[in-house]
């Protein structure tokens, strides 16, 4: 019993500390943005730990902490191709302490194709867009196709017999395939994989003829694959030898853009502060160089530009989506 008497005050203290901590970290109703941030900020990753979004957030974390003066807590809410995290994001309190990474075209295509995605594209309140990957067409080094033209001719000769792998359904690579089919008037067999790694594996193993992949994956295998066409307006800096689709007469532009967003209705002053912190990273020369080397195109779009970009892309994608006859399931 003696022991217990000794422990009791400590326990009571702990209850106080814990409950007080619990309330304190949540009680901050919309205070003025001047004092923001006064507590750690949650940065939610919509994909698994160790994925590209995670790595990017981990790179930003120390810089954000320095600029904002508060710890940044990174946590993961993977599932549904990101949809679960975004559905959660739009229902959070707009106090500036909850932000989530987002991807285009995911946030546009998911609400288009699913009834229950849990959020609408215009509810995603962007702070900044900081990087993009370009979708490109790749074949193995030993493939008989050396140019986009070879590939398209082969597909014309035997419609539907050429397999093209990519990560997921209604994703950047899938969209690219659909557009290529439409522009070139060919029929391909798209095979969706559960991610970029299995799609690459199937390509290298010769199980699929070609792959629509993101530039960060395409740069990883310079001695194993040939890149036949990048869906960007200009040549991609990390792959200077790969021609663009446009150069070869097909006006196809598909990229996957990454940014960060806060719940709708967040105080513009808070958005401004976060935006500045992210812009600082986006304009950092060392980080930009790192990104390029890893196969990303660094971009620096602020909140306003990001919003306009999302609106513009939504229009484009909705049109493509409808014209290709993909309807909501």
């Amino acid at each position: 019993m003696k022991k217990i008497r000794f422990i009791a005050p400590i326990v009571i203290l702990m209850i106080f500390a814990l409950t007080a901590g619990g309330c304190g970290s949540s009680g901050g109703d919309n205070k003025t943005a001047e004092k923001y941030p006064t507590k750690p900020i949650n940065y939610v990753i919509a994909f698994n730990a160790g994925g590209q979004s995670d790595i990017e957030a981990r790179r930003q974390q120390p810089v954000l902490e320095k600029t904002l003066g508060q710890p940044i807590t990174i946590s993961y809410k993977p599932g549904g191709g990101g949809a679960v995290a975004w559905a959660e994001l739009v229902n959070q309190k707009p106090d500036g302490y909850y932000m989530a990474g987002f991807n285009i075209p995911h946030i546009i295509l998911q609400p288009l194709e699913r009834k229950d995605s849990g959020y609408k594209t215009d509810q995603i309140n962007p702070v900044a867009i900081f990087q993009k990957t370009i979708v490109g067409l790749a074949v193995p080094k030993n493939s008989p196709y050396n140019t986009l033209e070879d590939f398209i001719n082969a597909a014309k000769a035997k419609p539907g017999s050429i397999t093209i792998g990519g990560s997921g359904t209604n994703t950047g690579p899938h969209l690219y395939t659909l557009l290529l089919e439409k522009e070139a008037g060919i029929k391909l067999q798209y095979v969706p994989f559960t991610g970029a790694a299995p799609a690459t594996q199937a390509l290298l193993g010769g199980h699929t003829v070609a792959m629509a992949g993101n530039s960060d994956d395409l740069v990883k295998y310079p001695d194993k694959i040939k890149v036949l066409g990048m869906a960007s307006p200009e040549r991609f800096k990390a792959l200077p030898d790969a021609p663009t689709m446009k150069e070869q007469g097909y006006d196809i532009q598909v990229s996957v853009d990454r940014g960060v967003a806060v719940p709708p209705g967040t105080d513009p002053a808070i958005v401004k502060q976060l935006e500045e912190a992210f812009m600082k990273i986006a304009n950092d020369e060392t980080i930009k160089a790192q990104m390029l080397k890893e196969g990303f195109e660094p971009v620096a779009m602020n909140a306003e530009q990001s919003r306009k970009y999302i609106e513009e892309r939504t229009k484009v994608f909705t049109e493509i989506f409808n014209s290709l006859g993909q309807t909501q399931k």
Partner: protein, 148 residues
Amino acid sequence: MLNSTSISSFAFLIIAAAAWYMTGDLSKMGSFFPRVIAVMMGIFAIIQIAVSLLQKKKEEPFSGIDAKRVISMVLGISLYVALIMLIGFILSGILFLAFFFWYLERGGDKSPSMARSLILAVLITGAFYSVFHYIFLVPLPVGMLFGG
């Protein structure tokens, strides 16, 4: 004969039928696999029902248990989950642990001490909360009452 095996197999048969029904309006590629599985599950379940109806085996799956303890634990866990959403991880954890430390001890040689249960509950909750919150940076729920 009608025993727990045939009843539970019947439940699995219903699940299989429901799965078949629910995948009706999906795309061909999206519904193929679940439908194949649903059919297999249905067939196995029907065989199992037939077998257990023919075999005259009596089953008493829930004999020899202290139903009161089990039911209170089940209710306790359910209430605990609901409480986490309402009042957050820390308080609900303390309440749950303290109650069951005390409750499960009842009927023993000594009468259980409520104070001791409470102290242990606070220590354990605090320790794990600290580990998850501060070391592994898992943001644990704070509960709706506290604005979570």
